[in-house]
Symmetry: C2
Subunit: 497 residues, 2 copies
């Protein structure tokens, strides 16, 4: 033992009884709510993929692939999607306003980007380096309110009900933190679900109450299943307080019909549940069903339901994940609730200013007639058309593989195909101490460098196996990725036939 | 009742027993951990100041001042501090990399800013729009590790122990979430303290165990008081698991001597406490005592203590609050702990990229010999010299007022003067249903537009009253602000004499 440590240990032994020393921090005594939380989107598969990536980067690695294809997470820019030019022009001017004083800037930036930056700077006291109010810049909330009114066919929105957040996740966590008091409080979440919900529920010490989406009906939801789930929650001593709906679905890619949405609202009204509407994929709709917001349907149906809805700059055709921008809207939640959300937001001071600005740009893009409108429209339509082609191609190719079945990807950025694994594969997985779909996904990663997320990370009906893959590899890359997938899959199926 | 609501209510009444309805969400049944959390830095005073600001903005308000002086929060850019040019040049290029392809950019941006942006872009897969790894961009963590080694006189740091966070707050919250399991778990926090700690402890359901800083000794801390506090925690059934030290102090502005730091380390070793070192003001040192990091002292003293330290881009001479950037370093915490922090970080996906980039720039500013070095040095030194002058002026002026006593502001951005309130003022406060220091601060705001935070929001010895004010009004504004303060104060003291 080194002298200082020895001195300290001696002093400790001399002065204090053993009982006055806190035990060392290990998994055994860290907060079990954290220890038990799982977050598959960045779990075992991803850590292994990261290790492969470092091996490839370092060179000399003997791997059967030369790159990792990150289909585990909806991170479009990482796979080559380009940002929207106007958005980034405004961001650059906001961060370096000295440019606005230089005459050469008018040659490098279009007039409407310069005008927008000036207008934001006039409304953001101290620029991008200052804390904003905890709810977010008022002028941007005002743009969001105008966007919502337009989106929702004239149904109005109030600035004071809007919160600009670091991505949608931050908003979801604030609401869950506010409604979950103990294990006796439940939140109904879909199975399969985006694991933000299960992980946050675990962190806040509440209980997830799962309701199944019906794979055989395009991952639809039914009131009967909601009712079963609710009663099952009560039966195990858990009072559901809120219902989460993800529309368009993640990981399941379905778009809810208006009829289903009305049923959900009725169900929430009957049980007095807060409805949490995760609508971050609202512009990622490839089917003919138009997107309806729950807010719009709730108002049109005169539903009394309390509703919080979430949107994000990370998805859509922006894919601005790294900016961590988004907003949530409170609707009919009561003043108590709103005041507590304001306080929670204030404890984190404010969301980051780049994310707030990108949120403003998302909801108020260049208007027709402005210099940047044509380029913006072209970039938007190109990205959306490409996503739609990739969605179609991906589910078609998956369905050509033996024992793989994928529903149509109607929206969002994912397919969630089922895989009928041979009994021998299930046995081999058990022998390896792995859940069968994890075993399958690890084998896929080892053979091809393609990283997807096992269905067990999202929840699935017992005895069924799935994985989630994004539709995000570029169109040039997609063909090769699908070929490698198909080759791996057929070999895997033969090996364990 | 409207038809849809009536239909729903009827359906509800028909199908479900009252017992199967969750009660409506009100303060009475929201999470009490959230409801009881308080966050004074953005509390009652600030809300009133915001309302005044809107009145002034709308025009026609008859108020005895024409602007709000926000001394409630360390938000330098809001009060006119300018960002560092190099930092913002790099940020602009990172967000709009198309500039890097334009030959005119070389006229508008210095070569080292262009070079730095290129280098970051080569190391940030997908640019600022992509999620980074949950711990933060590896290349930036590598810059942080090099900075720490330089700062700490050669004591090394490892990339894998570093986490890039949305400001320091996000890191503090992750650690508290991980160590607090129930009301039986305590965290020792200074009184007065930055209310992030008390608010987060409340949110995570743990118990704050306060130790007093000694106002009569320049807000110093003593091992005897730490010991008293620890034993008081045990006596009420709370096992302290961690000790928070804020150095330089917030709200108290003191700088710890190396001797005091060694005592703190010994105390933590004796009781096996995790030391949480909030060192976000490490470059805001106006006294002759040099800043020592706890990491450095711990390594030099061969202390076995587990330590997490925090830094931020919001403070120092950057004041880049709105970017929400910062980092934390784990030291001797064990692999279990580190793995859980990685998981917690992954549930929020990643911190925002602008904040990560500003963190990289903070720790790796332009080097001597590079084109931007002279300007960077000038901007830095100008801001720090001005802060030092303001710190001196502020405490001197406060000490000239009847019944006001301020310690020297040795560091950070705040003074925390005591005010000896006349008995009549205390009675008037009670009659108005206000804590006396809140009453005083509200009167100050009403009379002058100066917004400070009452001492009760930070904690103080019973029967003493304080407020926290930042030193951040510009030097041009400072004289007027201090005059208005002094006039208010003397009138207040006379009124209640």
């Amino acid at each position: 033992m080194r002298p200082a440590a020895a001195r300290i240990a001696a002093a400790s032994a001399r002065t204090f009884a053993a009982s006055s020393r806190a035990p060392a921090l290990t998994t055994a005594n860290l907060n079990p709510a954290v220890v038990t939380a799982a977050y598959a989107v960045r779990g075992e598969l991803v850590m292994k993929a990261d290790a492969f990536r470092e091996q490839l980067h370092a060179g000399g690695a003997k791997l059967p692939f030369d790159q990792i294809v990150a289909c585990n997470i909806g991170n479009p820019h990482e796979l080559g999607q380009q940002p929207l030019t106007f958005f980034r022009q405004v961001l650059a001017l906001m961060h370096y306003p000295a440019l606005l004083k230089d005459p050469r800037t008018a040659e490098l930036f279009p007039a409407d980007a310069i005008e927008r930056a000036r207008s934001y700077l006039a409304n953001i006291s101290g620029g991008t380096g200052a804390y904003t109010t905890s709810q977010g810049v008022k002028a941007i909330r005002s743009e969001v309110a105008a966007f919502l009114k337009e989106r929702d066919g004239g149904v109005g929105a109030r600035e004071e009900d809007l919160f600009l957040t670091d991505g949608a996740s931050a908003g979801v966590k604030m609401v869950l933190n506010l409604i979950v008091r103990s294990k006796a409080d439940g939140v109904m979440t879909p199975i399969p679900q985006y694991p933000l919900y299960s992980a946050s529920m675990s962190l806040f010490g509440g209980e997830g109450v799962g309701y199944y989406l019906d794979e055989s009906k395009g991952w639809g939801l039914t009131k009967a299943e909601l009712e079963r789930s609710y009663q099952a929650g009560l039966a195990k001593g858990v009072q559901p307080r809120a219902l989460v709906v993800i529309n368009p679905g993640n990981p399941t890619g379905q778009c809810l019909s208006r009829e289903s949405m009305v049923e959900v609202l009725q169900f929430c009204a009957e049980h007095n549940l807060l409805l949490m509407a995760d609508e971050v994929y609202q512009t990622n709709v490839y089917a003919s069903t138009p997107f309806n917001s729950f807010k719009r349907v709730a108002v049109e149906e005169k539903s009394p339901v309390s509703l919080v809805s979430f949107h994000s700059v990370s998805k859509g055709f922006l894919g601005e994940c790294g900016q961590r921008g988004g907003f949530m809207e409170l609707h009919q939640v009561g003043e108590d609730f709103r005041a507590q959300v304001i306080k929670l937001a204030s404890i984190s001071l404010c969301s980051n200013t780049s994310g707030q600005i990108v949120t403003g740009l998302m909801v108020n893009p260049p208007k027709e007639g402005s210099p940047s409108h044509a380029l913006y429209t072209k970039e938007r339509d190109t990205i959306l058309a490409s996503l739609k082609r990739r969605a179609t191609k991906l589910s078609a190719t998956l369905n050509e593989c033996t024992g793989v079945r994928s529903n149509t990807v109607e929206g969002a950025m994912y397919a969630f195909p089922s895989i009928t694994l041979p009994a021998k594969a299930v046995e081999a997985a058990k022998a390896a101490g792995k859940v069968p779909d994890v075993f399958y996904c690890l084998a896929l990663l080892d053979a091809t460098g393609i990283c997807v997320v096992p269905g067990s990370g999202f929840g699935q009906r017992e005895g069924t196996w799935h994985f989630r893959t994004t539709i995000l590899p570029s169109e040039e890359a997609m063909e090769g990725v699908m070929q490698r997938f198909r080759k791996f899959h057929e070999e895997f199926m033969q090996k364990y036939a």
